[in-house]
Symmetry: C3
Subunit: 339 residues, 3 copies
């Protein structure tokens, strides 16, 4: 059971309810009115817990798990231990996500403006918001309904936030228009000046950064990630993008819908990503490029040219994935021959 | 036009004034008393806007731009659309920077100490400063004239800040002496302990970090960047350095004047960079090295040896740029042959 | 002498006391009752200062140093300048650390709850704590004795902190159980949601992150580092780990005791490190791996497979260090031949 100091459990739920919630199909002979009380990892789950198997690395844990109910792909069903009820899904991780959300639902914040929060008289905060201690909302900012603004977070002058957003503690937003259901983790920095200046031996001359950051709906941005505002055009993050911790996004960058950007990736100025691009951890993308929809960029790759839609690349400088695998194989073979 | 919620427009300006401000030469037959009202990107600029062309990738946008006036290099003049006035400059980006600064001038802060700011009685804050809500200035700190200290920023014990500095929201400074006209972006961390300890199987033993961070004039340090204080000597950042987001600078590092350090670069302890060194995004530099003045380090390079002044290096471990290009070409050819 | 605005000097100490404190052996003929007043780097040390030599790069500075006393390895003794007293130790850096700690001892905080700090009535703060201005301690949090909570730091709901911890300014902790003598530097983010969601073209579905971050005793975590809480299991940081600035640690990661993780390293979800693993700056480790005790990972390495205990690896994808050195040598030779 999740630590009750931090998490609030809902339920219990019947098997047939969990099947409906998840879209998965019961199997293994369990009664539809069997009742489950919680979710748990395979290793620690007990008879009243729901667990899941998604990664083949953990089949052994599945085979010895004490979970009463497990969400799995149909082809894994015959590996289940005796007595375990199953929910079969072609996408067990997604089905499990639905179930875990039912047991641990997101609840609307308890409305509050902490006495040490600061709300400028010229700011607008809609009903149902919670402003934690030390939160600051500056002049002209407009905060939608049921938003949480974490302790010591700062919403800058003129920033617009939609409904049901969460701004983590100590996060900072300026020069930004943000949609609804956006989650900004602690320490996120949005809207500061881009890295724009005219270099020269007599000193570098700052170029005013006159754009904004425009963020769609349902976006999540990880802890201590940084997104600079545009230099003239806007920096744009499309609906449903998932951005991990410590990611850097430069000025004028545009991300399409549903991009997945893993931790410590850096995307340089004016580069545009299509919808559902995925970039692995610590990858770097040079400025002024076009990355096509559905492209996949391996961890630590260094992308220095445009990438076609759907292409998968790796290495630095990044090449098609098969080429990169060949390069590393050839190098490895040469080194072993030499050794 | 830049979003008035975030930016305040000055002007308008006559063509001859803009020529003087930027040092560029009018061309294209426009009247010196033609008036321009704003700056804008090539794609969205209209007849009263000033735009610029600096990157050849955007020549097509230049050729179809509706901008009334454009700053360009002389050799691009004949590609201008009919009716567009021009300002010719060998460094159009720098000339544009001057013009954009005129339209969107930096203004001195409106002096204020927010009621929820905390200023220790033993701190000194000069005239004209603005301390936003939740800002903290600790004992012995000395803040120069016309500084802005952002909301929930923390100026630690004994820190000295020159005149006209901006400290971003939620930034933290300790153990540091900082010049004038320095801009620290939100979430910057300056002056914490360096990563210094004596390793051992019985546990790692902390070595007191007894130096400071000394920062020159006109330096900018990007969001969530971290600069550790010296272990005994100081960590030093020279005048006019431009440091991007999420950069890590270890203890005892010295940067000369005008260095440009792009996002997510890491510089390990006791390494010294000469004047005007440039390091591309995600590059890493090992400790105890000397990087000569004017050296250029490619993005993602891994520098493991001293670099001569003016040298350009790439790859990991970093080698002269031409060697790195050859290495990647050879590897690519071998992989394709094999394929 | 360290800047008295930032550091408070103890002492002076006699040579025999320093020998006892450091476990080092006097040599060079100095009197046991010679007295030393401070520590200083080799270059600036004077007759009353203690310095040290640990890195052979600095032998020349040693040979010309004016330090009255120097901690060195026995084999360096004959290079000492005339008149310098010596303390001989097989681990001079560690011996110096003991001496520097004596001159600049860590002192317990002066207890205080700043008027602008916020302590929830349902939080527990033990005796001897110092809560700086703007610090926030939320409901259910339990803070041990003699802890410092820096200005504008946020201790979230239910978080447990042991004794003698330091939480840096603007740091954020949630969903975490933390041991004693832990130092969290400014801007650290601990306990936020891991990067867990079921990807899909219809949108990515968040998976509730139901674990915690569990941190042992004597751990240090660098500025702006991020440690996500577990998805179901906990994220665990073992006793005595040293984690540098801007490090990313994903959900469910486990670090053994005494690991050393240099700046900007990223460790992906569910990977486990044994005791005393060392990872160089900017290295990346893929998820779901096992890294054996005592393994060493070179800077910028990209680890994509399990690593055996004690193994040293480099490169991306990471291979045994000798193989990586051969690979880079071969590539270099081919490029030069071609050139």
């Amino acid at each position: 059971m999740a630590d009750p100091r931090f998490f609030k459990l809902a339920g219990p739920f019947r098997l047939d309810a969990l099947a409906e919630i998840s879209g998965a199909t019961p199997a293994g002979g369990a009664s539809p009115d069997a009742v489950f009380a919680d979710v748990a990892p395979l290793e620690s789950a007990g008879a009243s817990d729901v667990s899941f198997l998604d990664n083949r690395k953990y089949v052994a844990s599945f085979q010895t798990s004490g979970a009463g109910l497990c969400v799995v792909a149909p082809e894994m069903a015959d590996k289940a231990p005796a007595g375990m009820a199953l929910l079969l899904s072609p996408d067990p991780y997604r089905a499990y996500a639905c179930i875990a959300q039912a047991f641990y639902p997101v609840v609307a914040p308890e409305p509050w403006v902490a006495p040490t929060a600061w709300v400028d008289p010229a700011a607008t905060v809609a009903e149902g918001c919670r402003l934690e201690p030390g939160a600051v909302v500056q002049a002209g900012a407009v905060i939608g309904r049921r938003c949480r603004v974490g302790a010591n977070a700062v919403i800058g002058v003129g920033v617009v936030l939609g409904d049901d957003c969460t701004v983590g503690a100590n996060a900072t937003i300026s020069h930004a228009l943000i949609g609804s259901r956006v989650v900004l983790y602690p320490g996120v920095r949005i809207g500061q000046d881009g890295f724009g200046f005219a270099m020269g031996p007599q000193g570098h001359l700052k170029v005013p950064q006159l754009g904004r950051v425009v963020i769609g709906n349902g976006v999540e941005i990880g802890a201590n990630a940084t997104i600079d505002r545009g230099a003239g055009p806007d920096t744009v993050i499309g609906d449903g993008c998932m951005i991990d911790n410590l990611v850097q996004i430069g000025h004028n960058v545009q991300l399409g819908r549903g991009c997945v950007i893993v931790a410590q990736v850096g995307i340089s100025g004016s580069t545009r990503l299509g919808d559902f691009v995925a970039a692995g951890g610590q990858a770097g993308i040079t400025g002024h490029l076009r990355i096509g929809a559905g492209a996949r960029i391996a961890a630590q790759a260094g992308v220095m040219r445009d990438i076609a839609p759907g292409e998968t690349v790796g290495g630095a400088p990044a090449v098609p994935m098969t080429d990169w695998l060949r390069q590393t194989a050839i190098l490895g073979k040469m080194a072993r021959k030499k050794g």
